[in-house]
Symmetry: C2
Subunit: 469 residues, 2 copies
């Protein structure tokens, strides 16, 4: 773009992030501190994320359900006598029905406890297992330093909760979700390369015996946790009394897992792929693959544009017509760039006279006059290439900005630019604490062979460390 539309990333990355969210009309701050309004352009991305994840979740045999927003206080703080006794992240309803409630109720920060209570009712026999549940919902966690999509007082997410007969089955299921739902989505739809691994004890979810994570590198070198899957052992089942009569006639506690991902992933998408002209949406995720723009009205132009939209749709692409000819064309083009639509076709009377249309590629750049007859075929090819190009670009960045180091000092230094890989044996729990002084955390532990460590002190584990969102 000739004119500067956004603060350049190199100048001020956080400011660029805010700019692109505003200018691409993805979201705005809500009136209550820390909340966000997700605008149509942003919500369409979330719908596509949901659809892709949901299909994979169902393919894994999981069923969706819905649990109430409001929880009795006893579900969250069994001892709190007054609402000030609640965790600061909770929003507490004290009044409803026009009067003060006898017991305050809490807006769910997660549905873990209520799902636990009902699982306990629903699981009686080994025949009731595995019980595989997922919920798509909003949750509220009061946020003092909000940042749209990354940390908001209300966010949208999915949380899966499953119960199994054996530890092996639970462990395998948590890993299956991690690989076949989350990682597959990130790599093959979001075009984001991820570092997979096991969380250290310090970084692990409190109730878990094992937390798997996927971490991505943003364009400023910082890590973003994309999704986590927890193996909860029998801890959760003991707390909620999720037990079953085994086929051997014994009363046993179930083994449970939980796993989640949220609107944070929109933040990851923006910071992984966005550039100084705006968003770049990976083709398989894009709500609109191709925007067909009428540059100027003229004999047959609208008909040709509509025919192209139809052709693209028949070719399996999501295509949209932009006929806002009473808005300056430059502004419409900037808008399409900002929104990151992978392809646009610009059509006016002169192009049409030559049987041509101008094809503009957002992801790798480039603009060419192409024959109208070939436009659909070229679009389909471009989208395939562009997914891979976007992934490769992110992977090259991840590789270039990940450094193998042998001591803590070098790990901190490397973290200023990206990630560092350091043998866990050389870092350890003490080293992890020291890193924290430089705002560097262990993102995950992974074995050289790419497998997850199965213990907290696997001698072959590599710690991947960095600054994180």
């Amino acid at each position: 773009m000739a004119t500067r539309v956004l603060t350049p990333q190199s100048e001020d990355f956080p400011r660029w992030y805010q700019d692109v969210i505003a200018r691409a009309e993805l979201a705005e701050n809500g009136p209550v501190r820390g909340t966000m309004v997700i605008r149509p352009a942003g919500y369409a991305i979330w719908e596509r994320i949901q659809a892709e994840l949901d299909a994979r979740i169902k393919e894994a045999g999981v069923e969706n359900a819905y649990f109430p927003l409001l929880l009795p206080q006893s579900y969250l703080s069994r001892e709190a006598e007054h609402v000030e006794g609640f965790s600061p992240e909770l929003a507490v309803v004290t009044h409803a029905g026009g009067k003060e409630l006898e017991e305050p109720v809490v807006v769910r920060p997660t549905s873990e406890t209520i799902i636990g209570e009902y699982m306990s009712k629903w699981v009686n026999s080994y025949r009731d297992l595995p019980l595989l549940l997922n919920q798509w919902s909003n949750v509220v966690r009061w946020e003092l330093r909000p940042r749209v999509f990354l940390r908001t007082s209300e966010f949208l997410w999915q949380e899966g909760h499953t119960a199994h007969r054996t530890q092996q089955e639970a462990a395998a299921f948590a890993e299956k979700i991690h690989r076949e739902v989350y990682e597959d989505f990130m790599v093959n739809v979001l075009a984001v390369p991820v570092v997979r691994g096991r969380k250290t004890k310090a970084e692990r979810f409190a109730g878990a015996v094992n937390t798997l994570t996927l971490e991505a590198m943003m364009r400023d070198g910082k890590a973003l946790q994309m999704a986590t899957s927890h193996e909860l052992g029998q801890n959760f089942a003991r707390a909620f009394n999720i037990s079953y009569l085994s086929d051997a006639g014994q009363q046993e506690h179930a083994w449970t897992t939980s796993w989640g991902s949220s609107t944070r992933m929109i933040g990851a998408l923006i910071m992984s792929h966005g550039d100084d002209d705006g968003l770049r949406i990976p083709p398989r995720l894009a709500p609109v693959h191709a925007l067909v723009m009428i540059v100027k009205e003229g004999e047959g132009v609208r008909e040709a544009a509509e025919a192209l939209v139809e052709g693209l749709r028949r070719g399996g692409m999501r295509a949209k017509l932009d006929d806002r000819v009473d808005t300056a064309f430059g502004r419409r083009a900037v808008d399409a760039e900002l929104k990151g639509i992978p392809l646009r076709f610009e059509l006016g009377p002169r192009d049409l006279a030559d049987g041509k249309v101008t094809m503009v590629r957002r992801i790798m750049g480039g603009k060419a006059e192409v024959s109208l007859d070939q436009a659909v075929e070229l679009a389909a090819e471009a989208l395939i290439v562009d997914h891979q190009a976007l992934y490769d670009e992110a992977e090259v960045r991840l590789d270039l900005r990940t450094e193998d180091v042998e001591n803590l000092e070098d790990a901190v230094a490397a973290s200023q630019n990206g990630l560092a890989r350091i043998p866990w044996a050389k870092l350890g729990v003490e080293g992890e604490k020291q890193l924290a002084q430089s705002s560097v955390t262990v993102r995950c532990l992974i074995r050289e062979d790419g497998e997850f460590p199965t213990t907290d002190d696997d001698p072959d584990a590599i710690a991947v460390v960095g600054r994180a969102y």
Copy 2:
């Protein structure tokens, strides 16, 4: 079914309703009064309702967005000084972040006000119109006499809000949504015949100048309001200052509409189609069209059952395998009846030896041995027939139990059995008040020609009156 699984409808309809919800595992009460847990079998129905409505909403050019759950108190009661000053239906958060909030915030009972505030920011020029927004979300309205799916303190719904340049355009859009989204869905997917009409002034949504409704008759003769669409004139735009610079250079207020439908429709589905054996789900809505049940394991049985599932899927049907052979077959069959799955195929070693399978039809009843080779084709045919049969059955009931009357006394009498149609000229505002004493309400006004009256006192309007949920 030989054994009595549910309270018969004829004995106690409300009890039957509760029974079927519990036994078909659709939902349960939540721990906070008036809330509900929607179980997988119920939520799968909601997902299908959402998918079908959402596709129609998008087809009408509407975009989805998401607005925050928590609203500043000023959005709901501009004068309330203390939380007791709020409407009794509101749930009020007074504490968050570990302390008392300076200003309490309210859990949305609808997003109307917040959408109004943002529409006002987003609409500046005639180029910004029409602005067509929809939101899928949960809302909270404190309910003292809750009833699962019908009246709950939290429910799931969609609310559409649109702004237009002219009254004509707004009116046409509200009617378009009413016909092409709601009515089309109810007739062609839910298989529920509806009475369409205009609400009287007394029954109309407060801010509306015109409210359109669709009303269905349940199996006990009572009416259920299925969805409403409101024309808000310029009232809403004035309240929220949604104004735009017209192409003539004038500052004008927009004309707005709103429209909604909710998890109530699951209640309508149950009470329209359910019978003494459980639910009957209309085929186009059914999460599972056909359940393939292994009656007993045996040489090749599983393979044949899996092949049938595959064949049904290739035939465009949603098919599921039930191989829970360690559960008594009778119980599994009762469960499938209760859940209202349109078709089931029962397959065991003896059937397979004959190249046969038993096909059981839930909707119109009937059981037949059919050739395995023909099962897929027969299933596809059965589903087409069954949709129509279910619709016809409901329509016959609606017709038989709707009486044309000429005076108020007869209208009240007819309302004990179903609906009454009485000329509005003979009822009027005064008659409407008298009906209320017998718990009978005017469900809607409709002209003899089936068109919507365009005024509150159309001399040709017929009032459709009855008892309602």
